[in-house]
Amino acid sequence: MKTENQKAWFFVLPVLLLVAFNALIPMMTVVNYSVQETFGDNLFFWQGLGWFEQILRSDRFHAALGRQFLFTFLILIIEVPLGIAIALSMPRKGFWVPVCLVLMALPMLIPWNVVGAMWNIFTLPDIGLLGYFLNHVIGINYDMTQDPLAAWITIVTMDVWHWTSLVVLLSYAGLVSIPDAYYQAAKIDGASNWAVFRFIQLPKMKTVLTIAILLRFMDSFNIYTEPFVMTGGGPGNSTTLLSIDLVKIALGQFDLGPAAAMSLIYFAITLLVSWLFYTLMTKDDLN
């Protein structure tokens, strides 16, 4: 009956309300700010697409976006192969499986700002275990508060430490779902280890890897807390990633209009890249 089918809407309603309050309404506020100018006192003046134009033409935005893509690119290019390699070398059964899984999950259980603080203290040149060791024992000049390269190495290493586990766990889940018969058949077919990886393991991991890369892309593209705690975007602007820049504009300079326009552009880029990636990866599965 048709009338009965309409009832379903009532069950969806609570979710719709929830989404409206926690996503749609805040987002609309941002849209509202992005097309207006304010000087306080809740007075707003129509600005049109001016802020968008300003942001898109701004060198500062281009630089931050460039740094953001570089950061995301670096962590993906390290975390994905490393994660797969670790997953491949993890035991498939026995006593060590839960041990490995727990060890792998540990970094992910630590809150973002704690990770930032840990790595900050760890790498500080005079008091940090690693920083002191590198500077005073080995004699390499390594100071993330002074040297942009050291700062970059530190935040990338930190992210790799924090999040490679996610790729490991997802890849591992893909690997253990492969029946033994596949490996036995490959042995009998005379396949090399590379062929086993290329034609059995990688295809079977494809779905979970797509999810892993997608999650890592979105998360690293929006990263804020750890670099903020560690470098605060410095030295200079060298680690000012998009979200750090955004907060500087919105809360530091209190330029609500440009900040709102920038968030929308930021959001659009994240959405576009995720959509493109996901569509490309799942294209084959459809036909």
Partner: protein, 361 residues
């Protein structure tokens, strides 16, 4: 192709097996003649897959040797043994086309593309896969996927043996029959030694020239389907093969006469059982008839299975099945059972213990 010899083979999954029960395979000596079609038949867990994996080299036996044409291959890995194996669930390489799937074992062994093309085309022809060669293997139906698995097994011309590990489990019933006859046909064309593992007697009996029946890690009988049906060497074979299986009835033997339910039962020939053994009478339901004379019995169940009727009776606490043509008696009716003498045998401790009378088939 080669003759395969298993010599004093034993295998245990425990590192330090103590009692015979720790062994998944108990002392197996077996010869597989070159070019034969064999079935390895037995219930789940009887060790048939273990035996198969030992022949293919996926498992190294705890004891004993495997010889291919007299050459010891016990320690060789699967790819050095030149064997092919088809698994229960179709194994296909998702990202490759059907053609590349079939070509995979050849390319891995460095054959040139002309040879690859020739072999793949020939195998695809045999398996009726020619139209699918350019398709991605991932989205095919289970029976086509299983055909690809079989094709990868058959594509190499020099294989010593092709082994099938319950290959039709995931195939729809109406396609099972088709694939089974396809396999039989393939065997006649390629003449490779084939070993077919199954717990399904129909599959085993239709595919094989020789059936090896296993139970609890032991080979209980090797024979043609007809031999297994006519003269089971062990009560297990009698019970496992046939539908319903052989009637196994507790018997007392004294003075060379076997008695069941107090009545002397005439046997096919003289008894060879050692005194003191646990003795049973075995007779297939096909040779039990309802008549005017014989053992008095009560009918407990009548099932019409189409071609004939299975009549389940009770005699002195034992169940006796009889197969009769046409409609059977009513449930609860009193009947008399007659055993055909040349098909009535005695088993001692499970093993056949009567001699066939002269002239009996």
């Amino acid at each position: 192709m080669a003759k395969i010899t298993l010599s004093k083979l034993r295998h245990s999954y425990y590192p330090n097996p103590k009692s015979p029960d720790d062994y998944a395979l108990k002392e197996i000596d077996l010869d597989w003649t070159d070019g034969g079609a064999y079935a390895l038949l037995g219930p789940s867990g009887c060790g048939k897959s273990t035996l198969l994996n030992i022949i293919s080299g996926l498992l190294v036996p705890s004891e004993g040797r495997i010889l291919f044409d007299g050459l010891d291959v016990t320690e060789l890995p699967p790819d050095k043994r030149n064997i092919a194996q088809v698994f229960q669930f179709p194994v296909i390489y998702d990202t490759m086309t059907v053609y590349d799937n079939l070509a995979f074992p050849l390319r891995n062994r460095g054959r040139d593309e002309a040879t690859v093309r020739e072999r793949v085309t020939a195998i695809a022809e045999m398996l009726e896969l020619s139209d699918l060669l350019d398709r991605k293997a991932a989205h095919l139906s289970p029976d086509n996927k299983q055909k690809i698995s079989m094709g990868r097994g058959l594509v190499r011309q020099d294989v010593n043996v092709v082994m099938f590990d319950e290959p039709l489990t995931v195939i729809d019933p109406h396609l099972k029959w088709k694939l089974r006859s396809k396999l039989k046909e393939l065997h006649q064309r390629v003449r490779a030694t084939m070993i077919y593992v199954t717990h399904d007697q129909t599959e085993a009996l239709t595919f094989a020239d020789q059936v090896v029946v296993m139970q609890e890690g032991e080979v209980v009988q090797i024979g043609t389907p007809v031999e297994l049906f006519d003269r089971p060497a062990h009560t297990f074979v009698g019970h496992f093969i046939g539908s319903p299986g052989m009637n196994i009835l507790p018997a007392d033997v004294s003075d060379g006469v076997a008695r069941f339910a107090g009545e002397a039962i005439p046997l096919e020939g003289p008894i060879t059982a050692a005194p003191g053994a646990r003795t049973e009478i075995g007779i297939r339901p096909e040779f039990v008839s309802l008549g005017q004379s014989g053992l008095p019995a009560t009918v407990t169940k009548v099932s019409d299975v189409g071609r004939h009727t299975v009549v389940e009776c009770e005699v002195a606490g034992s169940r006796v099945n009889a197969i009769v043509s046409g409609a059977g008696p009513e449930r609860g009716a009193m009947v008399q059972l007659d055993f055909r003498r040349d098909q009535t045998r005695l088993y001692a401790d499970g093993w056949l213990a009567t001699e066939a009378a002269e002239g009996a088939a």
